[in-house]
């Protein structure tokens, strides 16, 4: 059942590449000189990709409806022996930690495909890569084998690198290479830590359920944890490993930024909890105070940099760095509520940052600029983008943690749960929330309020199709802000059990053993 979530997008990627979609028959005299794909076929390719992404998302929703929220452990598990000599198996499962992220991945992939430019070049390759990316990320969230996770984690790099390098902005080559180098280093550190975990714990395979690190000396555990922290810290990204992110965002096209901020960064925080906290709970308690300080640095540095930006997209990118710091703070606290808060913050950030990047993308597409010195007055009711501006208000309010929005729920849970463990660090992180309001008010004021800037008085028309994806996200952000219970109940059992087991120092034994009973 879970394999379908990986196979469907893969099938879509293959189909798009090989399915004959027919070509418009033109007289010889009108044959196009270039090999560019006709508009009609481009639209059809997008529709096919969207159908596959939607089917995948639909399947994820069906699985969610059958998900038992009272069960803490992996459900719908699948196991296939693969390379026994290496200890590698095809082992999938989903629990309350990974299920919301799989759903988020499905939703944002649909939105990314929907919001892709109709006139982009090499559409077959583009949509195939997006579907491949979806499959790889889902695979990483579902993998119950360290090596399998690593394979999916590395597999996701290739399409993302190509999506930035081929369809990016002017400095796409630089940004894509920087992204590749950083994440390759991240991969090396993670692989080294995984190998260390397996070899030093004497586990017979890379399967999560066979790992028991309780016998590993604490110093070695800390060393392994540092490897995991830096590896996933690059992916999250945490300061000072963050420099690839603003470049990647600025150069990536809007749909790729949506996926990058919405889902791919979550692989880092997911990995931190799944493989750091879960596998090395003893070491985690030692490094947790440092992690909380690290979170404060990330939050305040990200927010301060965001304030200084004039490029709207860069501002949102730095905002991401700050907001992912909240996840680290809550993860460091490692209480049942705080780990639940990490999941909420991941989802909240996924939806909000996706919304913000989508809206910045529409502004850029229509106005031709993201520069706050150039833009102005976009709220103009006739010649501006009042609906886009209103959605932007929803997005920035949610990001700044205004009550009634999903961002508030997530941030409140983070602060409420972390305060008891790290009061000073939590208070410092709360300053970050205030700073979020500062930089986003700057953005709103300069880009949307005032008189319509002279440079953008003749903006092209904004269609409902430009707004539709953002409206879906905005509605979700408001609905989940009013009724977060719909999400919380999927995750609560898993996170609570995970933390309780971790705190007893038996995380990788009893937690896994209870699986059979369910």
């Amino acid at each position: 059942m879970l394999s379908a979530l990986i196979l469907l997008p893969l099938l879509g990627a293959v189909t798009i590449n090989f399915l004959p979609l027919g070509r418009t028959k033109l007289p010889l005299s009108e044959k196009p000189r270039s090999r560019s794909v006709p508009d009609g076929i481009r639209a059809r390719l997008r529709r096919v990709a969207f159908v596959f992404a939607s089917l995948t998302f639909l399947w994820a929703i069906i699985l969610t409806s059958r998900f038992d929220v009272t069960v803490a452990n992996q459900q719908f598990s699948e196991f296939l022996p693969w390379i026994d000599a290496l200890g590698l198996s095809y082992n999938l499962g989903v629990d309350g930690l990974s299920l919301p992220l799989v759903l988020l991945n499905g939703l944002l992939t649909c939105i990314a495909i929907y919001s892709s430019d109709e006139d982009l070049q090499r559409p077959r390759f583009y949509y195939s890569l997006i579907l491949l990316l979806n499959a790889a990320v889902t695979g990483a969230f579902l993998a119950q084998d360290l090596l399998l996770f690593f394979l999916f984690y590395e597999l996701e790099l290739i399409p993302l690198y190509l999506l930035i390098a081929i369809w990016g902005g002017q400095k796409r080559g630089y940004a894509a290479t920087k992204f590749l180098i950083y994440t390759a280093v991240s991969g090396i550190l993670i692989l080294a830590s995984f190998l260390g975990l397996v070899w030093l714990s004497g586990a017979p395979s890379f399967a999560l359920k066979t790992l028991d690190t309780s016998a590993v000396p604490l110093a070695t555990q800390i060393l392994l944890l540092v490897g995991i922290l830096i590896g996933f810290g690059i992916k999250i990204p945490l300061v000072p490993f963050h420099t690839w992110l603003p470049d990647a965002h600025v150069e990536a096209s809007t749909p790729i930024s949506v996926l990058l901020a919405g889902v791919l960064l979550k692989l880092g925080t997911y990995g931190l909890i799944r493989f750091g906290l879960y596998l090395l709970p003893q070491a985690w308690t030692y490094v947790a105070p440092f992690l909380a300080i690290w979170a404060v640095v990330s939050v305040l540095y990200g927010a301060s940099c965001a304030i200084a930006q004039k490029d709207m997209k860069k501002m949102v990118a730095y905002s991401s760095i700050g907001h992912m710091g909240y996840v680290l703070l809550a993860a460091a606290a490692a209480t049942p509520l705080s780990i639940l808060a990490t999941v909420m913050q991941m989802l909240s950030h996924g939806l909000i940052s996706a919304l913000l990047f989508l809206l910045v993308g529409v502004v850029y597409k229509k106005a031709g600029s993201r520069d706050l010195d150039v833009l102005g007055g976009l709220f103009n009711p006739e010649r501006g983008m009042p609906v886009i501006g209103s959605l932007m208000v929803v997005g920035v309010m949610a990001s700044a943690g205004i009550p009634g929005m999903f961002g508030f729920i997530a941030e409140f849970m983070v602060f409420r749960s972390s305060f008891a463990v790290f009061p000073v660090q939590t208070l410092l992180c709360m300053i970050g929330t205030g700073l979020t309001a500062v930089y986003f008010l700057i953005l709103m004021n300069r880009a949307f309020f005032g008189r319509l800037s002279a440079q953008v008085t003749n903006l092209p028309r904004v269609y409902w199709s430009d707004r539709a994806a953002a409206i879906v996200l905005a509605v979700l952000i408001v609905v989940l802000g009013i009724q977060p219970r719909w999400l919380v109940h999927w995750t609560e059992a898993t996170t609570t059990t995970m933390v309780l087991n971790a705190s007893n120092g038996i995380a990788n034994t009893s937690f896994v053993k209870t699986k059979g009973q369910n």
Binding site: N380, E382, R383, N458, V462
Partner: protein, 376 residues
């Protein structure tokens, strides 16, 4: 015989002074401008017709009604009309009131002077006594606050004055459209000539105001006062609405405490000729109402041009306002030429000099206007 033209002026708007001296207009004579100006004046004519009828209705039937809930209904009150009113799919008569209040506030002309005379006070008191003959409360209020009800009648007089002015203007604009459709109007100067001719023809049309109470007619502005269309309504209207403004607040923000608002009302430059069309459509921007009203009556040839714009019908009201501004510069041209001390084609050097001085004074006021934008 070669007649010496005055030397070119170095005025910032010299181009327009020379253009007017040589029989041109403030708006360039192009087929696109002609189509826009005539088309928009047609829809404006329809709207003005409705405005004028309502203003006159209010003046004649809603005078001294302190809570005139149904003043926009022109006497026809039914549930369907009420629903339509609330839904705002109607003529926004509020805009006409904004203009009336602008005229009332800025004053000028004989109407303003007359409303401060003892004769008006006397006539107004007679109306008040007749209207509230059987209403001791209102009579008491009139005793306690003797200026209160008289001020209401001053406002009513302005309702009537503007209503009568727009009645004439509506006919001029609708007639212009008919002539254009019949092929008689083919250039912007012809448009200006048509408007000028209309203004001149109606210049001495008397402005009067009378109300009927229980079958008896009470004259508030009798013909004997000598108020006329051009001097006492048209000129104050142009001054208040085209130049000084208030029907266009909100299009630009000013900070009075930072001395951005001149203390002298005569130096106000917030009128239709200065208004920025871009904020049209926003809440609290009165011209939005006018543009909304005109939108319903656009001739198809003009509507089609707007549809072809980069934003299609999304910025229809801004496009209407831009065309409207062009048309108002045509009306201003007609007013400038109509009030010119000597004919524009005079050969007399002294008359030419005086015409130049006259035109320079107009252009001084138009320096901060949107004349350049309209011509760009």
């Amino acid at each position: 015989m070669v007649t010496a033209q005055p030397k070119p002026t170095n005025h910032p708007l010299a181009e327009y002074i020379h253009r007017l001296e040589s029989g041109g207009t403030l708006v360039p004579n192009t087929p696109e401008n002609l189509l826009e100006v005539v088309g928009i004046l047609k829809s404006y004519g329809v709207v003005l017709d409705a405005y004028s009828k309502n203003l006159i209705y209010i003046a004649e039937h809603q005078f001294l009604v302190l809570f005139p809930f149904f003043k926009y209904f022109n006497g026809e009150i039914n549930f369907r009309k009420l629903l339509r009113h609330w839904f705002h799919d109607r003529i926004n008569f509020e805009y006409a009131e904004y203009c009336m209040k602008a005229m009332f506030w800025h004053g000028g002309g004989g109407l303003d002077k007359y409303l401060d005379t003892p004769e008006f006070q006397q006539r107004a008191q007679a109306v008040i006594q007749a209207k509230f003959k059987n209403n001791p409360i209102m009579r008491g209020i009139n005793q306690l606050f003797p200026d209160f009800l008289i001020e209401q009648l001053r406002v009513s007089a302005y309702y009537s004055g503007l209503g009568q002015f727009w009645r004439v203007m509506a006919d001029i604009f609708l007639n212009l459209s008919d002539r254009y459709e019949q092929g008689e109007i083919k250039s912007i100067p012809q448009v200006v000539d048509h408007i000028k001719a209309g203004l001149v023809a109606n210049a001495n049309k008397p402005i009067t105001y009378a109300v009927k109470i229980r079958g008896q007619v009470y004259e508030i502005i009798p013909a004997s006062v000598g108020l006329t269309f051009l001097a006492d309504t048209a000129v104050p209207y142009v001054e208040a609405v085209f130049f000084r403004g208030t029907p266009f607040p909100g299009t630009v923000s000013f900070n009075a405490q930072a001395y951005q608002v001149p203390p002298d009302q005569a130096r106000f430059q917030y009128g239709a000729l200065y208004a920025d069309p871009l904020p049209i459509g926003g809440a609290g921007i009165p011209p939005t109402l006018l543009m909304q009203d005109m939108r319903h009556f656009l001739p198809e040839y003009l509507h089609e041009i707007y549809r072809r714009g980069p934003r299609g019908e999304d910025d229809l009201r801004v496009q209407i306002c831009m065309s409207f501004q062009k048309s108002m510069f045509c009306v201003t041209t007609a007013a400038i030429l109509g009030l010119m001390p000597y004919p524009a084609d005079t050969k007399n050097p002294e008359e030419q000099r005086l015409n130049r001085v006259y035109l320079q004074k107009w252009m001084d006021r138009l320096i901060p206007s949107r004349l350049q934008e309209v011509n760009s």
